[in-house]
Amino acid sequence: MSRARADEEEYWHSSKFRAFTFDDEDDELSQVGAEPPPRPALWGRGPTLVCAQTVFFPQLKESKRAVNSLRDIVDDDDDDLEKVSWSGEPVGSISWSIKETASSSSSSLEGRDTSLQKGSSSYAALPKQVSSYSLSSLFKGRNRLPSLPSLSDAFSDTGVKNYAPELRRPRAEYKDYSNDWSPRDTVRRMQRGKVCSLERFRSLQDKMVLLDEAVAGHDGNVITAVLIFLKRTLRREVLFRELEVRQVALCHLIHFLKETGEQKLLLDLLRFLDRTEEVALSQYREHLNIQDVEKKREFLKGCIGLPFSAEDISHIQDHYTLLERQIIIETNDRHLAMAGQSEIFRKYPRKASILNMPLVTTLFYSCFYHYTEAEGTFSSPTNLKKTFKIPDKQYVLTALAARAKLRAWEDVDALLTTKNWLGYTKKKAPIGFHRVVEILQRNNAPVQVLQEYVRLVEDVETRLNLATKYKCHDVVIDTYRDLKDRIQLMAYKCKVERGSAEEEKINSLLSNMQIRWKN
């Protein structure tokens, strides 16, 4: 008898068993590697639960055939189904219903049947349509539907006898009692979801043969199962040593420890492997779970001493300093805002706390609320810039955005103005003036402010585009003049208001005989 056939029978046997004596709750389908079961008889039944998936394929074929044959019944319902959940109406969909439950969970418990219905009695209570759904009745169907010939053809000759559940305990199940599966067979059985005792793999060599078989079998679930067994039955140093040369298995153990949260063992393992950087990162990761800022700050302080790479050490240091700084600013500002004496906090109330925000956001905040403070205070932008070595470009971008938001155009001007050694002033933007224009425009800067910076955009085409887009007429006119483009200038005349100063300017330029137009 082929294995699949045996499985199938096993399945029918067991499913019947379970469907009707539901009180059988103590099935020992323990995880692999558990203590040998005290009652072998129960052990033998273990697979009955586990094999549901393994034997699904024969079952699949049948349910498919059954589904086809039952089309006339199912189809109505199908239509129903589409209407209820897919006409774009969320009503009746599962996610919708869950929301409903959540909102009404505390109140209505109406219609709850407190008496536990058991077994077949509940089947009898089912409405008619429902009972047509129960699989046992589904499988009686045998007719083929002409509309799907290729599908049903596919299964034409798998015997009808398959449908009848065999009541005799199938032979394959007796085999489960035996303990003499080879490592390979053990792995294969586990891959198919069956329970197998691993207790007999006692010598280190046996254990490793088993592990290597599991790895060769490609099923991560089984590899992990074997590792759980090994972890329990081997001293950790021995296990670590063996895993060092078995990288695939090692990955599985590390992932397993991460998932189950066995941090201490994980760190021991990483240390054993000399993966010091991972040790550090793995510890640092824990800060994500700490809610209390004070505790988090303390924790981060501790992280500074961890064996990070030289480069990362400075990032960790910065992280700590940033949070420390944020705590100071937050305490101070919350106080200020509550007191209600500071104008800026009254006018622009804080939307959120600054704690745990990125550095750039903190800088923006500080440029917004604390722009004029002296460098000595912790909350001043210049202090932040210095402490965290923020590049000029980043600083200007952020400060610009903050000041523009407040419509403090003089600050914008000052930010972009540099003085050379002769005392001449010059506009300079490390980010390119087209960006400056974009930021100002987004904050609804008036044309007078805007055009000053549009004028400074270096690329002529971009400058023209921006100037036209934002109606900086002067800049457009001047640019065309510089380009000596008479035709464009004439064309632009219709875009300015009639009788305005701009129109006058265009007219005077066009009549200026000094200019050598290129067209």
Binding site: A19, G88, I98, I228, D312, M357, L359
Partner: protein, 614 residues
Amino acid sequence: MASTARRDAPEPPDFGILKRLARDQLIYLLEQLPGRKDLFIEPDLMSPLDRIANVSVLKQHEVDKLYRVENRPAPSTSDQLCFLVRPRVRTMRYIADIVNADKMSGRSRKYKIIFSPQKFYACEMVLEEEGVFGDVTCDEWSFYLLPLDEDIISMELPEFFRDYFLEGDHRWINSVARALQLLNSLYGPFSRVYGIGRCAKMSYELWRDLEEESENDGQGRKPEIGNIFLMDRDMDYVTALCSQVVYEGLVDDTFRIKCGSVDFGPEVTSSDKSIKVLLNAQDKIFSQIRNEHFSSVFGFLSQKSRNLQAQYDRRQGMDIKQMKNFVSQELKGLKQEHRLLSLHIGACESIMKKKTKQDFQEMIKVEHALLEGFDIRESTSFIEEHIDRQVSPIESLRLMCLLSITENGLIPKDYRSLKTQYLQSYGPEHLLTFHNLKRIGLLTEQAAGETLTAVESRVSKLVTDRAAGKITDAFNSLAKKSNFRAISKKLSLIPRVDGEYNLKMPPDMAYVFSGAYTPLSCKIVEQVLERRGWQGLEEVVRLLNGNEFAMADGAPEDGAGGDAQRVVVAVFLGGCTFSEIAALRFLGKERGHVIGTNIGACAVRRSGVQSGAT
């Protein structure tokens, strides 16, 4: 398959069976716990479940109330609790807490856990450790494949990417093998199987193993799917990292398509509520624009609206009888079309708005420059500015990864400075993200010349010694120099076009990236199908780090196999993008075979980048 034998693409098989099977099995499992019960559902199983069953089906099987599995105590008062969950350790702890709390208060209930798609030993171990093993019964709901559309099936396993590619955990390979077995038993037998990548190979081997011992009843059966192509996502990260410009891809980038449907917010619906819309071939408007380049979509939509207007306008000249006819027969359809049209126009506007804000044009230009390998400095400073302006954490990472892969790693100076600025802009905890991306090989630092070769030779020695299966993922990722430029040259991924690339009548698959780049993954599929194997692609395979295979199982030659031989299922292990799906649809039309796209995980673009995140 050649142009002489060009036929219309065959209809894809009916994947609806997969849904019915899954529903039947779920019902069967619910019947295993007779009587009224409350059902707890894992949040990420809800959308897939919604696609195959609905509340009334659940109610029919005596499900009383539905709850979401979340980190809160359950208010349920039912005497029977059923949990429909993914096999995860933290979910097991949640369930164990409920059971233990009941025990403490002396309450007795029945508990049943249904794992989808399968149970893990680690989960049972947790149940045992928590002392609730035996108090709960466990079952498996073998819901491996969800048909999302006529030509898309998905396993909906977002954690696949992270588990396999980052953690090196092979736990889902069994599920993939079983999904293959399911497809093979319903639509096979497949006569040809191709694949590339380690995960693909392992899945294939495990699947063969499963097939061997199952009854071989496939003989004489008429297959509906002839070919299957397995590919690991890490064979081609580049494609997944490029900005999408076909409509469906843009909708995904902007609104996230989840499980085949999308939530259009108020900015799209021009009302005050969001609408959940199913995006598939049933949507008559969407199905015509989904694969189109975004630039053609506007024209199409405005043409459509004019037509619609004209049809409405016909009312003017109608007499009563005609009017009656119109109202009873056409109006409903027109209204439906009108609704869809206004939704997609709204979506387009919203996409445009968002993309303009992000300097989309500029970004695309940078991407194309990176793909072709010029203006690297300019591109680097564009990325830098993108980070400094806090535009979007994900987009910034995506661009950095693209730079890294196309250039075989960043220059150390750039790496340090970009990383520092990133941490400053988006938060210091992303240190962990960078570490993960490095491990997975998506964002790396070029080693100085000397050390690189030393590492390489050491690694290549290890890699060739794969008999014992001892090569490590860590080493593997080190060895995985992306070699993108060489591959791109070998397969001419950058089309040479004289004059303007015709996006309306595209000549090749490169249209999905505005004619600038042919997706590598799809190019490989095309080449292998054309050659019926890997002959002549040896150099490419070597650059991709091998693990290719091809298996022909007494395949009938062309013609004899009929339509099935022209149906190919492309399986992306680790997810695929809508751009790739569009390209494969194009390929399918061109060559006269349908490419059913089966996605190893869910169709989350940028899953690469995101999964790398902390």
